[in-house]
Amino acid sequence: MTKKVAIIGGGIAGMEAASVLSRMDIEVLLIEKRQQLGGHVGEWDHLFPNFRPASEITRSLLNALQNNNIKICANTVVTGIARKAGLFEVKTNQNQNFKVDGILLATGFDLFDAHKKEEYGYGIYENVITSADLEKKLKGGNVLTTASGCVPKRIAMIHCVGSRDEKAGYFHCSRVCCITAVKQAIEIRQKLPNVEIFCFYMDLRMYGKGFEEIYREAQEKWGIQFVRGRLSEAGENIDGGLQIKSEDTLSGRPLKMIVDMIVLMVGMVPAESTSQMAKMLGIHLSGDGFIAHDDVHFGSNITNVPGIFTAGTITSPMTISDTIADARSAALKICEYIA
């Protein structure tokens, strides 16, 4: 008899795991709360480290879902999961009731809500945007402008917004923001060669393949300036410019400058649905609010509840490459379990 798996979350982790499982002759229900699959990647313009269009990734993953073993349930939210006679019974808001052999949780992450960093003025100052807002602005080859329609002359990019930040309640590093800032800064300079860009950072974590190379390129080829210091506050000028205060910790001097735009590199935080799901299923969370693995080295993809597995950023921030690898690994684990 054909085995069935329900994958909750139709982002890139859920999509990749679905295609891998379907090729192993396992029936997959891919449940996504939104109309479109692709998750956060679907909202992005270009990707680090090679400036590849994000749409290539989602298109490729979507093509792989063209398989009779996969049933996609869009606009669907799981309302209950119960274990009965060795199977899981999954109920949804569409009055569906599925019986499956295993469950893969792939509900991903939420972007940190930049409103919480009140001192940066997101939602109050018109020219303070997030990295996600910037991607939307850049999508389709649009020219970047300020709220008043002018071409910015000076932009500050603020790293670690909602990451490694005790005040914000998130100690963890989001792992992708440093390299995203470098990528976005280069993209802006490519479109606006005269704009000055200052990246304010705590540490630059260029750990991935190709990351260090584009960080160097950002400095040497594109003249992007990196200032080691956190932003203390932003205020709006009479002409709509933004006054920022920081400290250049390498020179040991306080720093104040006027910029036309601030881009907040918002971190990845546990999705709101993760804690709800964990509560419903009795799954352990780690201190950072992401789903915990009992064994940090061998336990990836495995939860404390037999038959329920994880893939992607539901367990911690990850790059796209790592998410794809994690999804493949999860498919293998769940396949072993239901075999």
């Binding site: 009140e118 109050i124 205020g235 006054q243």
Partner: protein
């Protein structure tokens, strides 16, 4: 600037403010430098709003200035504060109003300490009992005096004789608000509107017809900073802080600065004189400086109180240009008379800062 963004933050920082029956804790600096403010506060609460408020002659300084100057220990200030709670308890009150922002910061810091370290509270109770024989209850509600004026701002607006509107142009007066660091920067949850975009003074200004100016150095400290002015050699730091704010607000052409904190009111006012003497510079278009008022003085003007009874002549920057904009009636020849009508003599005039004569 998006107002809806600010409103979203204000929704997050609402605090409970008692409706009546208050024990009043006065401020050392305000009694000395702006004596009309607390007088106006009591008058507004008793006469305008009909509230029960206990103005107790037995309370002392909270010792906050000594505490922040490191000459009073935390154990000592906690016991002094405990004595004030004991006085409140003995008088039969449960709600405390604190007139000074420094004191308000200290009270909230101490209550937060006791919440997390009950053993410290136990020890303070023992110290107070041993030293004075007194016992105390922790207040059910603690509010800064500005919280109270904020709470009843619409009642005051309903009784307004004047509004914060330029009678010549019909435009709202442009007002800079400064809440003071210890009001909510230490514990944003205890301040109306939080620490970054506080609403306590803005709410009053809006209700009474004025318009708040949001300038880049709005959050910056006035320069009071205890050690900066207590140590004479450091006073340059204090002036520099205020100057930074004046330079930042000047392009907006403010009609008035309204302050929450006694120290801020003092330094935002007096350093304008100092800068004018040092550099010949003033921060309004006509050389009179920007009037700096407390929120009670502002409320008093709105209610039609005599500006000289409010003590506006005690300020370094004189307020006649503001009174004229608002259309407030006043008698110039009564400016330097006491309550009994005795002539007190005129102060020496500044070199550069203009004063109406």
């Amino acid at each position: 600037m998006k107002l809806e963004g600010k409103k979203r933050i204000w929704d997050d920082y609402q605090k409970e403010i008692a409706d009546n029956n208050y024990y009043f804790q006065r401020s050392c600096i305000r009694q000395n430098f702006f004596p009309g403010s607390e007088h106006a506060f009591l008058k507004i609460l008793k006469n305008e709003l009909g509230k029960d408020i206990c103005d107790d002659e037995h309370h002392t300084t909270c010792t906050g200035i000594g505490y922040h100057a490191d000459v009073v220990l935390f154990e000592t200030i906690m016991t002094v504060v405990a004595r004030h709670f004991a006085l409140m308890t003995e008088k039969g009150y449960e709600n405390m109003i604190i007139s000074c922002v420094t004191s308000f910061g200290i009270y909230t810091e101490i209550l937060e300490t006791w919440k997390h370290f009950p053993d410290v509270l136990k020890k303070v109770r023992q110290h107070l009992k041993k030293a004075t024989g007194r016992e105390f209850e922790i207040p059910k509600n603690i509010a800064h005096a500005s919280d109270i004026i904020f709470k009843f701002r619409e009642e005051i607006a309903a009784r307004a004789k004047y509004r914060l509107i330029n009678r010549n142009t019909g435009e709202p007066l442009k007002i800079v608000e400064h809440i003071g660091c210890h009001y909510s920067k230490m514990f944003p949850v205890h301040g109306v509107g939080g620490a970054e975009f506080p609403y306590v003074l803005q709410g009053m200004v809006e209700s009474w017809g004025g318009q708040i100016i949001d300038y880049p150095e709005r959050r910056h400290c006035c320069g009071f900073g205890f050690r900066q002015y207590l140590v004479k050699a450091n006073r340059g730091y204090s002036v520099a802080n205020s100057k930074k704010k004046f330079e930042s607000m000047k392009p907006y052409k403010p009609d008035m600065i309204v302050c929450n904190c006694p120290g801020c009111t003092m330094f935002m006012d007096k350093w304008q004189y100092t800068i004018s003497e040092m550099e010949g510079k003033t921060y309004d278009e006509n050389g009179f400086g920007i009037p700096v008022l407390t929120y009670e003085e502002m409320a008093g003007l709105v209610l039609g109180y005599n500006p000289w009874e409010l003590g506006l002549q005690m300020h370094e920057v004189q307020s006649e240009p503001l009174l004229d904009k608002m259309g407030v009636a006043y008698h110039p020849d009564e400016k330097y008379k006491d309550a009994a009508g005795n002539y007190l003599g005129e102060p020496a005039f500044p070199t550069n800062l203009k004063v109406c004569v």
